[in-house]
Amino acid sequence: MKTVKKLLPFLCISAVFAVFILSAVKDMYSEKTEYGFACGSEVKVTVFGVKGGEEKAKSAIAEINRLDSNVLSDTLKTSAVFKLNENGEYTDNNGELVSYINECTDLISKCGKMTLLSKPISDIWNISGGGRIPSEKELAETVKKADMKNLSVSGNKITLGGDAKLSFGAFGKGTVCEKGIDTLKSGGAKGGIVTVGGTVGVFGKCGKSDKVAVGVRDPFGNAGEYFAAVEVSDCYLSTSGDYEKFFEKDGKRYCHIFDAETAIPADSDITSVTVITNGGTLSDFLSTALFILGEDGLDLAKELGAEFIIVKKDKSVIISKQLEKQFSLVNDEFSVSAV
């Protein structure tokens, strides 16, 4: 009895220390978030379940920055795309740009209303500079420039013809998001969430649950406001809409997503499209494609194995049947039907 009595204070102190050490270890393995900028958007990387999560998140952001500034950006002078646009040709020694061009070209072959040579179109509309409406002649000339026939890849040599200029505008955020997730995976993280503008990538075990709730932006609300949430795991979500980058003239809204066949902004009763699929580049492509194609694009979504959430201007929402169980509405001004 006496021994126990003597040991009691030590036991108490050890217990307190154990709690401190355990909480320190828990903290070491708890989620860590880092921020950065790429592709004209804020980048947010959260890492779960690994020691040194901060470093892992930072290296994902560094990799995203490298891909944007050395390869994909059409505004930064350091990038391969910028050099290609300046010189009309580019020799891609490590094959990185060629592989992304090929991936996007394959996707575009499924939607003729999209192009990788979209820069001349966005340039004539100048949406980010306040917007202007081009003449019929300008539009016709620009449609020719944006034709995918002007892009040719032979081995590691990329050539542009007909005054074409390449832009990964409809793909880049998804591509770098996927790169960020891949970097976290190879860094040994147990789970991670990478957000690049409106594209979200999710993998592994993020916290206690195997599923992650991702909000779907309320196209009629502020940034960060969502009208619904979906429970997902191991996937990419992208959203294309007309509510952020646009200008208005004579009561009509002109958004930043263009039909490559007419060089005119997509215009329908749809205000935003979210897709959920297994690749970043794919999800970014598909949300844009569906925004342009409207309900005609649903077969393409099914062909590519994607789930979708389409929000119309009258606040009616169409979701894919398989999504019903994962989808929950948080704003009851919207009405949902599944197809």
Binding site: A213, D218, P219, G224
Partner: protein
């Protein structure tokens, strides 16, 4: 024979329990009353939104106004003004980003049931 547990022991254990309870009760709460301003992805300043008077700070060509329960980007040297158009923010999780100037403002705090990310 001495008692196994003395009054003194009970006092110490009670004190420890009380202190833990107090620490738990007064743990820092994440409410919608604070906002963070990030520059280049790094926290630049955390501001309190509760004061009635508004304050304005300018960083990287972006002027941010906060107070009276809200925060907003009043003006920016960027071309597209997406950040200014984001409007006045007052709810947890709302944010405005000026990508060209690499400035972001976000209202702090996460409800337990709030989504981990937002697509859009």
């Amino acid at each position: 024979m001495k008692k196994l547990v003395t009054k003194w022991d009970i006092a110490v254990i009670t004190a420890v329990l009380l202190i833990s309870l107090l620490l738990f009760a007064f743990r820092p709460k994440e409410t919608g009353e604070k906002a963070v301003i990030r520059v280049d992805g790094k926290e630049y300043k955390t501001v309190d939104l509760r004061s009635d008077e508004t304050e304005e700070i300018t960083v990287n060509g972006v002027s941010v106004v906060y107070g009276g329960g809200e925060i907003y980007i009043k003006d920016s040297s960027c071309r597209d003004k997406i950040c200014v158009n984001a409007g006045h923010l007052s709810k947890k999780g709302q944010f405005a980003v000026c990508a060209p100037n690499r400035v972001a403002v976000e209202i702090k705090g996460n409800d337990k049931n709030a989504p981990r990310a937002v697509t859009g």
